[in-house]
């Protein structure tokens, strides 16, 4: 089958990458660069979560767990076990996918609030294990001494080089997601979101598709996790708890469901917002909550949906003025 949109996706992702790579040139200092790196990592997870939530309609309140599994597995492999970094990274991503594969069968049978509760419970259990298995994970005080990333003899030891790497990875993830959603699989996922029974009656294997997208989104979270571990060279359980799982869901909804770009915008926005609110000191959390509530109230289809409407309105007004 001809796929005329593939070319457009490549152009879009390419422009996005160029934009990302240009960002460091306008930043005043390296502190902001580290926030950009964390924003891109969140965006990788959010794009994956959106495939699961926005397109296939399966909520997960435990995605921070897969992020944490990726980070801890590569940390343990590259320090305690003395394995090379690429092996550790592959193991991190691989294990988060294996865990998701095993969980998929029983968990994705559940629907709605029961699914939300089950994924939430899973996330909390994993977070508690990070905290309590002190011999393996270092416990609440964290895991130190993870090597900085070097691949094929090139050391990504500066924030600038690491940012470039993360930007490339995010662009590739966006490109792949754009294409996936335009493929037969993507259409099947959207169909099962609308009605599982109707989709099944069309011959779509519901269980297999749900499992596929769950494992894929867990793998992306694991990928962000391994990149996070080798960037900070330190991980602690606090980064992978329920709070971050919720924040990921908020990123997806705030950005705009079933919209790959929406998740990117939502992730970058929610990562940057607390930094922007720093100067408000103690009331920053109030302002943060208020912005969250007001945005959802007045932009029910998310930031990208709201921007789209604004754009169309402006165009209509512009046309009216021209006439």
């Amino acid at each position: 089958m001809k796929r005329p949109l593939l070319g457009r996706a490549i152009v879009q992702a390419g422009l996005f990458l160029a934009l990302l790579l240009a960002v460091p040139y306008v930043l005043p200092n390296d502190y902001y660069l580290s926030i950009c790196i964390l924003g891109c990592l969140s965006a990788i997870i959010a794009v994956g979560l959106n495939l699961l939530m926005g397109y296939a309609g399966q909520i997960s309140l435990g995605h921070a767990a897969f992020y944490g599994i990726g980070a801890y597995v590569t940390a343990i492999c590259t320090t305690r076990l003395g394995l090379p970094i690429p092996v550790g990274m592959a193991a991190g991503v691989g294990l988060s996918m294996v865990v998701a594969w095993v969980m998929a069968e029983p968990i994705l049978k559940l629907k709605g609030h029961y699914l939300a509760m089950a994924t939430l419970g899973f996330g909390i259990i994993v977070a508690i294990v990070f905290n309590e298995a002190v011999d393996v994970t270092g416990g609440p005080s964290g895991f130190v001494g993870i090597p900085r990333l070097s691949l094929g003899g090139f050391a990504f030891d500066s924030d600038r080089s690491y940012y470039n790497l993360v930007a490339v990875v995010l662009s590739l993830v966006v490109l792949a997601s754009l294409n996936l959603m335009r493929s037969r699989t993507g259409r099947a996922l959207r169909a099962l979101h609308v009605s599982e029974k109707a989709a099944a009656s069309l011959g779509i294997d519901i269980a297999a598709h749900k499992r596929f997208v769950f494992v894929l989104s867990a793998g992306l979270a694991g990928l962000a996790g391994v990149l996070y571990a080798h960037y900070l060279s330190f991980v602690a359980p606090a980064s992978f708890g329920f709070g971050f799982s919720v924040q990921l869901v908020v990123m997806v909804v705030l950005g705009g469901m079933a919209n790959v770009w929406g998740s990117v915008v939502g992730a970058l926005f929610l990562t940057a917002l607390p930094e922007a609110l720093r100067e408000f000191e103690d009331i920053d959390i109030l302002v943060y909550g208020a912005i969250l509530v007001l945005t959802i109230m007045y932009l029910p289809d998310g930031l990208t949906g709201g921007l789209g409407r604004l754009f169309r309105k402006l165009r209509r007004v512009g046309k009216g003025a021209a006439r």
């Binding site: 508690i128 919720v246 009331i283 943060y288 029910p300």
Partner: protein, 291 residues
């Protein structure tokens, strides 16, 4: 081996009754609006923190607790009026995100108003333990159980004997049909948020003398309450109360016999296993899907 069992049972039932009350709050709102209210834990926190604050203003303890519950009910009603009602027609996930936003606001507000310290509320009737069946029972435990039972009975009466309660049940059953027979669904939603605030705050106030309280205790308590009503079967008030008790007892025994660090994990593992075997909770009815 069974040495600590009576003691674990008592502390489990106490904690579990509070989880049940919190779960009851979730159920009230879920039944009329179909929303899982992530700010429910913050209602619980407000119950404890406001009681302490009112007590600090010189009010006698019972008045302070009552005032805290009423104030939280007002907070709940305001939340519905200002943030949930304008959202009518939007997808449920948006409403859930709003409740997350409100929970952040309430937590932040409490931090500014009451500070970051952990505070305690005095026990309602002394701290001299009662020895029975090999367990030392804090008088406050009896308060928790009594208040939970009283609130359950009051709700039961409200739903079965008052027009308003029946109207609320009708909304829970079929919103459109309820509005066709002249029930104001919006007012019922407002009421359910108010009652939910009241119940949550009561749970917070009776628990505060046992576990202390702080501006950030809401999240974990809210999660346990949510777990309780899922365990019991979402939508059933008595399921939520029973789910809470089961959860509390499991937790206490897990902490006692296995490891206190894994206490919370224990409850959630059992919950997951139950959901895998019976996806509609202990007392939930299996739903029928429409295509």
């Amino acid at each position: 081996m069974l040495a600590g069992a009576p003691q674990y049972l008592v502390s489990g039932l106490t904690q579990g009754a509070a989880y049940g009350l919190i779960g009851l709050g979730f159920t009230m709102i879920f039944n009329t609006t179909g929303i899982i209210n992530f700010a429910q834990g913050e209602f619980v926190m407000l119950g404890g923190m406001l009681s302490v604050a009112f007590l600090g203003l010189g009010l006698p303890l019972p008045v302070a607790v009552l005032a805290a519950c009423l104030a939280t009910a007002v907070v709940g009603a305001l939340m519905e009026r200002l943030t949930i009602r304008p959202l009518a027609g939007a997808p449920a996930i948006n409403a859930v995100i709003i409740t997350i936003g409100v929970s952040i606001l309430l937590r932040g507000g409490a931090m500014l108003a009451f500070g970051k310290d952990t505070v305690a509320l005095p026990a309602f009737s002394g701290v001299k333990p009662i020895l029975a069946l090999g367990a030392a029972i804090q008088p406050q435990s009896l308060w928790v159980l009594a208040v939970t039972l009283a609130l359950l009975a009051a709700l039961k009466l409200y739903f079965s004997a008052t027009i308003q309660g029946k109207a609320m049940l009708a909304c829970a059953c079929q919103k459109k049909a309820a509005s066709l027979v002249g029930i104001s669904v919006a007012r019922m939603a407002l009421l359910s948020f108010g009652i939910s605030g009241l119940i949550g705050a009561a749970a917070g106030a009776i628990l505060a003398p046992i576990t202390m309280t702080a501006y950030d205790v809401g999240m974990m308590l809210g999660l346990k309450g949510f777990a309780a009503c899922i365990l019991g079967g979402l939508g059933s008030p008595f399921g939520a109360a029973a789910g809470g008790l089961v959860l509390g007892v499991l937790e206490a025994f897990g902490a006692g016999y296995v490891s206190s660090g894994y206490k919370d994990a224990f409850a959630f593992i059992v919950l997951l296993l139950l959901l895998f075997v019976k996806p509609s909770g202990l007392f939930g009815k299996a739903g029928v899907d429409r295509v």
